[in-house]
Amino acid sequence: MKRWAIPLVILTAWFAAAGTACAGDGLPKPNIVIENKDGQCVAPPEEMRRNHMEMLKHQRDLTLREGIRGSKVSLNGCIECHAGKKTGSVIGSDDSFCQTCHAYAAVKLDCWDCHQPKAGYKATGAKPHE
């Protein structure tokens, strides 16, 4: 057997095994619950699943750099509908809307380092350093 064929055989076997596992119930699925479901999202679910990051990226540049406000795509808009009742937020528990999918897809969520993930959040108005 040629030298390159050995890893090929191993890989083929591994993929075959993985394929069997996928077919069963072993693979964890994201638990997507939309609790505040009044009305429609800005686009159909299929499009949102694939393109929400592109939509948000496009909108954020227009708003920040050009000052265009009132776009139908808005991160704060996402939060208002998708924050879970348990945490009041789109992150914070494994059931939280953003977190459940991003944990499943192993994609790091950077948005909430800067953006407020809680719905209807009001800043405390406290004065710092006193």
Partner: protein, 246 residues
């Protein structure tokens, strides 16, 4: 690059010597609200015909008062407790000045001067430091890598770096760890036709916000008629924030 840079300075010098009567300048603080209360319609970009600026009358600014600082902190969600004073965020800070010869003391708020030729924008390696069409200098945190070159470049010490993770941001004012930040002129309020929080909070009406690009705005009229100063005018940055009485 800039539509109103050095030409303005000659204009200013003439304006300053005029030092006209104060007849129509002493308008009640509330009236200024009407003058600028024009929210841009949804979907419309900021226009370069507008240049937002501020005129700060330091003769009205009281030494012990920090109403503008508190208002800025609560409006922009700067509520985190940071132990090391050197690491705290200062979007606006009060400075007390004393002339050693005469002993004259006065106080003034210092913040991002929203330069027409901002050095922070010049040095930024990623393009995160930027000037909006209407003259507001901002940090695009989406692409800020936290290198802090802009903090070095700013002659006004106006920028801060966020060292710790934050959780209490105002939904309209995103800010977070690893990024540089500074006064945004309350861009989220200005875009809705409101005044910046500090301007609204000043009990003495010492802060005047308006459009420097409109010759009929109150701020333009006052700059044309009274002596105003740009801090470090020698650097030719053409700041949008001007002072009186320093």
């Amino acid at each position: 690059m800039s539509d109103n840079d050095n030409g303005r300075r000659g204009f200013l010098a003439t304006g300053a010597t005029m030092a006209a009567g104060l007849g129509f300048v002493a308008i009640a603080p509330g009236i200024r609200l009407i003058e600028i209360a024009q929210a841009r319609p949804a979907g419309e970009a900021a226009s370069s015909a507008v240049r937002w600026g501020m005129l700060i009358d330091t003769t009205k600014c009281a030494s012990g008062c920090d109403a503008c600082v508190s208002a800025c902190a609560s409006e922009n969600g700067i509520v985190e407790q940071v132990e090391d004073p050197a690491q705290r965020s200062h979007w606006i800070r009060k400075i007390d000045l004393k002339d050693k010869q005469s002993g004259r003391e006065h106080s003034l708020p210092m913040m991002c001067q929203h330069c027409a030729e901002p050095p922070c924008v010049d040095v930024c390696p990623t393009g995160a430091s930027m000037k909006r069409a209407d003259g507001i200098v901002l940090v695009d945190r989406h692409i800020c890598i936290g290198c802090r070159y802009c903090m070095m470049a700013c002659p006004y010490k106006a920028r801060s770096f966020v060292h710790e993770p934050l959780t209490e941001q105002n939904p309209e004012v995103p800010r977070g760890v690893g990024c540089v930040e500074a006064c945004t002129l309350c861009v989220h309020r200005v875009d809705r036709g409101q005044l910046p929080a500090c301007v609204e909070a000043c009990p003495e009406g010492a802060l005047l916000f308006g459009d420097l690009g409109d010759p009929n705005s109150e701020i333009s009229r006052r700059i044309a008629q009274e002596a105003t100063t740009q801090v470090r005018a020698d650097l030719q940055l053409n700041p949008g924030v001007r002072y009186q009485g320093i």
